[in-house]
């Protein structure tokens, strides 16, 4: 188990797909609408060494009720500018597309948090602030202080992609089992 803390630096480059890590420090939530807004208006936080969390939490007042990861692949086409701006880690579930694997190369990593584990995530988080609140609860950029989030390196900075490896294996199994040439 490797303990990481934001702002992240070159230490993420030595991680390999399949490694177990924990992440502490400030992270920022962003889903589809937040990405579109950031592309149009700029990134409201310092992106250098930052971690962006694909998450639409349940917030009540200033309390983070639950905050599990959302499907990252929805943001495949919207992610490049974040990596270019210095974001070092993306956090989400389900993995990301080929273009993102290439964008991460030599620069950043994708960290997988167990989908649905929203109570677990919130138990290790405190709400610190918000940007783009007008986008609504699920789509706003929430500023969160994380304490040892338990994560798996899904995509490393060398092109290693555990999701793709599993997918390829699944395809082979499928073709064999159903005699598809």
């Amino acid at each position: 188990m490797i303990d990481l803390a934001t702002p992240l630096g070159d230490e993420v480059l030595s991680l390999r797909a399949g490694d177990r890590v924990t992440l502490s420090g400030t992270i920022y939530t962003a889903r589809d609408e937040a990405h579109l807004r950031m592309i149009a208006e700029g990134i409201p936080f310092d992106p250098k060494g930052a971690a962006v969390y694909h998450c639409g939490p349940v917030v009540q007042g200033d309390r983070l009720v639950v905050a599990g990861p959302t499907t990252s692949a929805r943001m495949n086409a919207l992610t490049g500018f974040l990596i270019d701006a210095g974001v070092r880690a993306l956090i989400g579930k389900g993995g990301m597309g080929r273009e993102v694997v290439e964008q991460l190369r030599g620069r950043a990593v994708y960290l997988a948090l167990t989908g649905g584990c929203a109570a677990l995530a919130a138990a290790r988080m405190n709400l610190k602030g918000v940007y783009f609140e007008d986008l609504g609860m699920a789509e706003a950029v929430w500023v969160i202080e994380a304490d040892h989030l338990p994560l798996t390196v899904g995509i490393d900075s060398h092109g290693g992609d555990i999701f793709e490896a599993v997918r390829e294996k699944a395809k082979t199994q499928f073709y064999q089992r159903f005699n598809i040439k």
Partner: protein
Amino acid sequence: MMVNPADSTLSDALANATERALAEAEIRLPPDVLAALRRAAAAERNEIAQQEFANILENIALAEERQVPICQDTGVPVVYLTLPPDVPFSPLLFEGIREGVRRATVSIPLRPNVVDPLTRENTGDNTGVGMPAVHVTPGDRLTVTVLPKGAGSENTSRIGMLLPSQAAEIPRFIAETMLLAGGRPCPPVFLGVGIGGTFDTAAALAKEALLLPLDTMDDYERELCDAVNALGIGPMGLGGDTTALAVKVKRADCHTASLPVAVNVQCWACRRATVEVER
């Protein structure tokens, strides 16, 4: 419309029952779902998958301890109502359920997930045109069953209009659904399968199959489940022995020229609860 006081009391009782069922479903998983998860966790050999199961089980315990929803995608409520003979089928039933959803959105709380399909404008209270979906069947008692459905898994669901000669192709269609879905629906999943009926019935049956006990399977269901698990997708698409915790099938007779097959994909958090209406 003239409102009989007895009717509005019934509507309010239905609102209370709906709110209670949603709170129960969102915070605590049913025993059959927990049993299936615990069994798969104990049998898992893949190291990453073992950790994913550990996170899932810890999350379930924390949701209960903190009295918060299991997942931040609190879903959209799908409601099954059983109606005894003495309760008239009336719009007040639907209004009571809608009111229960509104109350639950604030009291649990739930994430407001319901939007206009084209403008994407959020209604703010998890109700809307045609939402929640309410399915009514006759019964001995007045009960409300809720099945809050998250989008991650719902989005990977599929329907196929197979040829009548393709019954043997059903396992392939089911496995293909998960091959296409990969880690997106938050596996390990439960698969509700509807076979037969018409285009629309097959989809309804697939969802109703998720209301069946999920810790038992007959031989056919096991065959379908094995075909999915052979893919090795594992928890969250990170690889592992268990991709599907269970497959449940519901059937209806169909047109001699048809074979509709629907798969409703359900993430590991198969949230559901039934509450009898106190009236």
